[in-house]
Symmetry: C2
Subunit: 370 residues, 2 copies
């Protein structure tokens, strides 16, 4: 194999596929980045048997072929190259990739590329196309609500239910639930999947184009892939049945509180500073009159209290929450105002982004001594 | 105590003195930041019994007094405050500091301020004044060369020898030596000190004013302090006798090599990528003809080679160094060209910044198999 390509394009591709390289690879080969050159393209692969990433770049291919270089060295060497272009010249006999750029001259040992588990495209039971910004929003508004506890593996993923003209994203850690509805312009068949949060987090980092682009989503019963521009991302799915979350979404409320999102978010964030240090991370909300008093207490540190103006319909109520379950959700809410919908101090509450119909957030209160 | 001050000034002062708070404080009090208010000033102290830091800010003092708050909470709370000003109101009876700013209202427990080991100014055997940029350069050009190995405590500090009209800074890890001479405008007595690198690193971070300022340096046999603007920094000294480094500085050379600093630095940095992975971190320099060939080899990774143009006076020579001992020094050299002064493959070499008389760098080569 011998190719010449733009250093920065190669570097960006390496950085992207390197995200699939585990810090503790199961096999030495999985510490590698695989590169295959043919036509006018170099295709880079990173794989950890859970997530697989491919990135294509333009290359002048003098001799097609494949190489596999340790991700760490490949990235460090390309990062430091002095030239704008870089030539990779692989000697099959020596198993060495000769990397040249400007005055720099590196020779890196290649691993056995024929044994590398390349990332595979797959047919899938169904596929649909969605605009990147729409997909990004659905992921951003749900993936934060996943559990991090690996003992509840189902809840570390996002439930993705594909219906004929929409897709429902839902995530929960059993104390909070975030649901986002995504409308499709084309129609598909139906499928239920649980998608590991990891691939969705990577998708959020990768989907950052300023011009709207199309993302092709392909689903099977054990895998999912996203394909856009020069990128292919795939992940195994989690196995199991996601609980029927729709029945835990409260529909009627005794109290509805209208709040300025930014003022409420900032106050919750400040009061949480004290809550965060206690075991249960509790903040108390006292809704009444023309406002809500947000407070938290920690015996060893002190306490915090702040009042935010609010318009309250219905009964006053005192209710406590895990501070993080409020704060995390307020961070992803973009509407200027929100409505906090409540019933009793020990029943689930719902936060509605005013003017946003496709998003639901439900949070369970905590029982407190006082 | 009750004061009102600008939030950002208070925050900057907290961040500064917090640098003296150890991550594992010897006593709970040393996790605290002490604040004393009197006149129109609030003075903040951080202390870990090695390093002590004071920062003064302007404050409207309604009631003078002192408080001691856990550094972590003090910083987090002040960071998040919504207002431009902040009021700290201490209730002696409750031992609680009431912090208010805009709508925010925090009450933090104060520790026992009377027991706090405040940072003390001291008389000293001698003191001198130096411009910040001059002091900064002397520190920057030596402190990097200290040992990090705590088993050789003397070498973790910088030798500072104050003479009547100059100060000699010197640091070594026994494989490399960096010396910088600083000229004084006033005259002083003489003293030899070994200053822990930690306080000098903090000084580098702190001395960043754009307008030249005066720094007052006060020295005693066990302590050193730097005083400028609203800041006071002090440190204990290391005990012992620093070796006579002057005799290891080679004065005559068989080979002198003139190099472009930036070209040589960049090439050394690249070739070091391969060297870094091997146990000894060795790069080889082959001086001859019109250049130097820099190379490194690692059995498991591959090799790197790069040629840089050089003007060589005297014999050609092949010599190997620890890559870091070259790279670290090249990073702090600012002259456009340098002269690499050499004798034999196994005797110490010297790198001279062309046109810079007050700086000396000596590096010992390593013996290699080939």
């Amino acid at each position: 194999m011998k190719i010449t390509c733009a250093k920065n394009e190669l570097l960006n591709a390496i950085r992207f596929v390197a995200k699939a390289i585990s810090s503790k690879p199961q096999t030495p080969l999985l510490a590698g980045i695989y590169l295959k050159a043919e036509g006018d393209t170099a295709e880079l692969h990173g794989n950890n048997n859970e997530i697989g990433l491919i990135c294509k770049i333009h290359a002048e291919v003098e001799r097609p072929g494949e190489i596999t270089l340790t991700g760490r060295y490949f990235q460090e060497v390309i990062t430091k190259l002095p030239g704008e272009d870089v030539t990779l010249d692989y000697s099959d006999a020596e198993k060495i990739v000769h990397i040249t750029s400007g005055s720099a001259d590196f020779r890196l040992l290649s691993m056995d590329s024929r044994s590398y588990p390349t990332v595979k495209h797959f047919e899938g039971n169904l596929s649909f196309t969605v605009k990147d910004n729409v997909l990004r929003e659905a992921v951003r508004k749900t993936v934060f609500a996943c559990a991090t506890d690996p003992n509840r593996p189902l809840f570390t993923g996002v439930s993705v239910q594909v219906r004929t003209d929409h897709v429902i994203f839902a995530a929960t850690n059993s104390h909070r639930l975030s649901v986002n509805n995504l409308h499709l312009t084309d129609t598909t068949k139906t499928i239920n999947m649980i998608v590991p949060s990891r691939i969705l987090q990577e998708l959020l980092h990768t989907l950052n184009s300023e011009i709207p682009i199309d993302v092709k989503v392909t689903c099977s019963y054990n895998s999912l892939s996203f394909e856009f521009e020069d990128v292919f991302m795939t992940s195994r799915l989690l196995e199991g049945n996601f609980p029927d979350f729709d029945r835990v979404i409260p529909k009627e409320f005794k109290t509805k509180v209208h709040l300025n999102t930014e003022a409420f978010r900032a106050a919750v964030e400040r009061v949480s500073l004290i809550a965060r240090s206690s075991e249960y991370n509790i903040i108390k909300l006292e809704f009444g009159g023309n406002g809500v008093v947000i407070s938290s207490t920690n015996q060893e540190v002190g306490n915090a209290k702040e009042e935010v103006a609010a318009q309250i319909e219905g009964d006053g109520i005192v209710i406590s929450f895990n501070a993080a379950y409020l704060g995390d959700a307020l961070k992803i809410m973009d509407s200027k105002t929100i409505t906090f919908c409540l019933n009793e101090p020990l029943t689930a509450a719902r936060i509605v982004e005013d003017g946003v119909e496709d998003f639901v957030y439900v949070v369970t209160p905590v029982r407190t001594a006082n």
